[in-house]
Amino acid sequence: MRNSIIRFLLLMQGLVLSPLLFAQTTVSGKVTDANSNPISGASVVVTSTATGTVTDAEGKFSIQVPANRKQLTISFAGFQTQTITIGNQTDLQIKMQEDVGKLDEVVVTGWASSVKRTNLANAVASVSARDLTGTVVQPTIDAALYGKFTGANISANSGAPGGGISVKLRGITSLVANSQPLFIVDGVFYDNSAIPAGLNSVSKAAGQGSNSNQDNPSNRIADIDPEDIDRIEILKGASAAAIYGSRAAAGVVIITTKRGKSGKTKVELSHTIGLQMQLRKLGQRSWDATKVQAAYGATGVSIYNANGGREFNYEDELYGNKGLMNTTRVAISGGNDKTSYYAGITRKDDEGIVKGTGYQKTSVRMNLDQKVSRFLDIGLNSNYVESQADRGFFNNDNTSTTLGISFVSTPSWVNLYPDANGNFPNNPLAPSNFIQTRDLITNREKINRFLLGASGTLKIFSNDMHDVKVVLRGGLDYYTLNTIAIFPRELQFQKDGNGTNGASIYGTTIARNSNYNAFLLYNLNLTDKMSFRTQAGFTGENVELDNVLNTATQLIGTQTNLSQAGSIQVDEARTKQKDRGFFVQEEFNFNDIIIATAGLRGDKSSRNGDADKMYYYPKASAAFNIHQLGSWSLAQISQLKLRVAYGQSGNFAPFGAIYSPLVRAGFNGSTGSLIGTTRGNEFLGPERQKELEAGFDLGILRNKLTLEFTYYNKQVEDILLNVVVPTSSGFSTAWKNVGTIENKGIEIGLNAIPVNSASWKWTTRTNFWKNNAKVTKLLVPAFNTGAFGATLGTYRIEEGKSPTQLVGIGSPDQKPDPATGLVVFGNAEPDFQMSFTNTVNWKKLELSVLMHWKQGGENINLSTLLSDIFGTSPDFDKKSLDPTGQKGNGDFRLAALGTTAKPWIEDASYFRVREIGLNYTLPKSLFKNIATVKLGFSGRNLINVFDYFSYDPEVSNFGANAISSNVEVTPFPSSKSVHFNISVTF
């Protein structure tokens, strides 16, 4: 016994000390790009070991290499990884080749897995920090994603400060359930709720024609600071995202934030100042007494004459603010071989294009990595965000009170300006005075958000053949959102019996998302050529959200305190969810020629009717690198990979769909419980998506030109709907899985470096993507949904048709369907989208341009309808629509009201220069080689080409709903902006 212990200790000592017993040599060198510019931060590793270092600011490194090792592997993001043989050299000069197709970049593909892009069997999109924020300062992360990868339909819901965007990956993944991707930040599930501020009690937008909330809040993904992001991976469909199980049907966006690197402390200071203005002005109708008489009769004429026929430029008054934008940023990173850290602080203060609106945010991030011992690494992330968005009061209403509706319903000859004492006149022709409303109301979202994440990697065992690790991870996302909407009682629509004598609406939402997971990772290098990677783990997520909305009306004086009110109503909505799952995955790699993966995810959730039932989501994929075959002889073709992937994922029903609640029924001074009209489905399961994806990657001329082609076929089965049932059951509707939607599409990416000389370099990327969605099965009769009914255009879900088709009533010559009287006037889905990214470098000057072209896809534009009804359309008198040339455009469109919905369904194609930036890096010598100073001019949305007759074809009155986006009702107009940036790094 004693003997064996001693033997064991000796063995252990021998093993631990063994590396020291071998002789070592010191190798140093310099890493540069093709033009001999030093690359700092490149990773230099002794091949097949864990020994490594990174290059310093001059690109230099020095490393101890055991005598039995002969190779170094050098890698850096954006460059092709190189393995070089040391031989007898001790001072190496390493030139890195630009990795145009990003073939060598390591792509995060799951909980604990990352794969080199060359070995990837899916078309996973990656967006680097440079792509994200390198060109232009980004107001919010959601706005930063447009046009930067294929397969996404990203659309801003409005131009209101603070974000609010809909991201749909590879078509329509649901009709009523969640359609937005799952966001994961450094392994922490990031809540992306959009929580209404209760404006509906004033706007009454829901209830007449549409029950949907139209408060247009921002999505909470806006809280993350884009500057902190190192990279984003987008898993677009089930074939890539299956490992995320029941929450992944709409795709997964994996965000990795910046981390420190060992080496010299790097300090980055930057300030950006910008100006934003209305993206497009429409102008206003010009009037004369005859037109006033025709539109507003004698009442109008007397007002018109009383003001001496003066016309006010209300478009400028309301939308003409030049919003000043300031972003200040400090980032410090660094570390040694044991500890590295990254700290980022951003302060942003943007003014909106409508007076009184704006967005302010402070974000503080601290990421820390520590090698606790040789076998334990830990990582910590923390982020605190405080933000405030003042979003104005826009979109649809049924009370003519929003700024947008009031603006279109007020002709420019009505004087709405206050008198010398600041007293606003009542709007004689509409229920509200939008200047008064703008100046007096508040619609604010305030957030305090903490994000904490921790991970630990335990290296259990490692040798040349085996490598076993355990990764433990946990995270918490916690925020408090306060929504403050104040409508003082002196507003025209609140006083004198026109409203509720003021309203103070105060909402508090407390959201708590936590998740934890543990994985076992096992790499087995069976031979030099054959390796297996095994992953197994479990995951758990808890979601709690509590929203309390207090609506106080009959306010006392100018008080906004909730207790200073004559009437108060409280509403509360709580969400609670608990998910538990596991996954296993096996990856086989044969000499980087064949990479095959198979995996299985199992998921349980309290959101399902049977909480403890396990739902399984399998996946399998294979990549075949033909160019790696020994017999490959086509020198020009440097890469040819065929890939195919299949996977499944799920999507939960809207919260509450499994419950048959008893609702409150007041009676006789007491409160009763009465069964609700919607029957929950206690057997409800998730929607299930099955996706098959196949494609090839081609690299030509040492990968100077690369092409990625992907085709996918995505079937979403068990689509959930709240369907009508026989009411003798006691219920009117019930939740059921009733249909299948198919999405087919292609995605093409082409990268090239056409020019790369000592002083000139041009890199270019062109993306093309298109998607076709179709309802292939529907167990309920076809039905209209979304928007405001068939008279004005609506969506229609019909078997064999696109779920995003836009239909409406049609005149006889438009040949309406005899059974329904409906005509298909368009489709919200674009025909295709393209984006072009070009970067041209000349010495220290860099010009980057991102262009985005969306072809096709229609909107229902009801801003036009409303402005026609009130005679305020800018083109009201123009005669460009009537084929007979008789009627002005306004009268022509109005004549169609009730006959056909065609005039309001408009092509929403656009071409825009989303980002343009010119950067100049000042010579380092100017600053005694201490600091790098960069100056930049940039602009967002500076060039816009579209025929769509409103401020911006990118709009959604109904927020990020699965169906019923692409509807416009007097939104907050979009803006364009210019920025000047100065950054100092030392």
């Binding site: 065992f461 479990f538 008893l662 006789n668 009763g672 029957r679 009411t727 059951s729």
Partner: protein
């Protein structure tokens, strides 16, 4: 070969640790609805408080869509017109204007139908809750309470039947996944009566107090039995079972000399969350209003104080080719109670039963009781069954005006053709279509 061990011990410890964690995390318990009480939860073990909530919810739900119900039966029964600027179908579909017919997927058909079955669902939940509750109630109380729920079910089915008539109704609706068949007309009315009788066996003579408070008719089994029997008398009359009707009347709260308004009512209040009387509109309103079919005034005997149920308008109300000078004024405020069944109807049912059983003097006594109360002299007509039926129907028309009886009375005496036609081409419907979703 180089090896790096942490320690094999640690490695071995890890595995069971992970398994342990895995086991701990594996089971997912269902989460109850955090926002509302759930039907599933309340049926398992309801507290007395929760049972009271179900009772209140039921009695509240009984009022849902009463406005549409009454508008449906009273407009077709030509008692009043329902004018609405926002919906022309009250004056077109309900009166059969031109080619208009009753639609099987429009609110006047579907909403009252759904509202009644919703209450039935709620009472089924109440019954299940009562069966399973562990609260301290006696067996007699449990039985009496279930009988209370069944009585309400029968009444709700009766209201559905009143509109569906020849189409019949679904009686067995306990299992929403497995709804019972539509019974034919006679089976339907039999089933309603059977349900009332079944309930009454646990009510009649039982001293048990309900373990909750009801506003319908007393809070103990035996008192409530009198309400149950009153409904049974009405149903028996509908099926022309005069003997049963007579027996039921005897056990009901019928009081020939008592207060005509004694009975069971729906209550309303202005309290937040409560409902207002949907049958009330301010006088002389335009747009949304109910105005009286003119023959109600012209056919009235002079001095009939029941004309206080209408009010002369300051100006005539026109819509869709219809005219009236009188507002419907049965309810004077927006919180007036709406009768479910009251003594005046029971006296008239008594009269009807006596006529049909050929006990004409008794019938005349009852009719005179009603006439005198209305400020009219005794019945002076001949003492024949036929004449008395005419008189009884006339008294029902005026006594129960706007309470949803006229159309049903004319229908059961095959007299729909005698209802006044206001516009050429108007129709009098015999029943509503079966809702499309059924």
């Amino acid at each position: 070969m180089k090896l790096q061990y942490i320690s094999s011990v640690k490695f071995k410890l890890m595995l069971p640790l992970m398994v342990l964690l895995w086991m701990a995390s594996c089971k997912v318990e269902p989460i109850l609805d955090p926002n509302n009480p759930s039907a599933g939860g309340i049926t398992q073990n309801a507290s007395l408080g929760e049972i009271q909530n179900l009772v209140d919810g039921t009695e509240s739900g009984m009022r849902d869509n009463l406005g549409n119900y009454f508008d449906g039966v009273c407009v077709i029964g030509r008692e009043y017109y329902r004018y609405s600027t926002s919906d022309p179908r009250f004056t077109s579909d309900l009166l059969g204007k031109g080619t208009a017919v009753l639609d099987n997927n429009t609110f006047y058909t579907t909403n009252p139908f759904a509202a009644r079955y919703r209450v039935i669902k709620n009472t089924n939940i109440l019954i299940e809750a009562l069966q399973n509750t562990k609260a301290a109630i006696t067996d007699a109380q449990r039985k009496a309470s279930i009988a209370y729920a069944k009585t309400i079910q029968a009444y709700q089915l009766l209201l559905v039947f009143n509109q569906q008539y020849n189409n019949g109704i679904r009686v067995d609706v306990k299992d929403p996944d497995n709804l019972g068949p539509f019974l034919n007309k006679d089976q339907s009315v039999d089933a309603i009566l059977a349900l009332l009788n079944e309930a009454n066996t646990d009510l009649k003579g039982s001293a048990a107090a309900f373990p909750f408070k009801s506003t319908l008719f007393g809070n103990d089994a035996n008192t409530f039995s009198k309400f149950n029997r009153a409904l049974a008398a009405r149903v028996a009359v509908y099926k022309k079972d005069w003997t049963t009707a007579a027996t039921a009347l005897n056990e009901s709260f019928l009081d020939l000399n008592g207060d005509l308004n004694a009975g069971s009512y729906h209550l309303f209040s202005i309290t937040g969350g409560d409902q207002l009387n949907p049958m009330f509109f301010p006088l002389n309103a335009s747009g949304e209003t109910r105005v009286v079919q003119p023959s109600f005034i012209t056919n009235a005997e002079a001095g009939d104080n029941r004309l206080s149920k209408v009010s002369l308008r300051t100006s005539a109300a026109f819509q869709d080719g219809l005219t009236s000078n009188y507002d419907f004024y049965l309810y004077k405020t927006n919180v007036d109670r709406i009768p479910i069944i009251r003594n005046e109807e029971l006296i008239l049912i008594y009269a009807e039963t006596k006529i049909q059983q050929n006990q004409l003097t008794d019938a005349r006594t009852a009719i005179n009781r009603i006439r005198n109360a209305a400020g009219l002299g005794n019945y002076g007509g001949v003492l024949t069954q036929a004449a008395l039926i005419d008189e009884m129907l006339k008294q029902r028309r005026y006594s129960l005006f706007g309470e949803g009886h006229r159309w049903i009375d004319m229908r059961r005496y095959d007299r729909l053709a005698q209802l006044p036609i206001d516009r050429a081409g108007d129709d009098v419907w015999a029943e509503f279509p079966r809702p499309a979703n059924e």
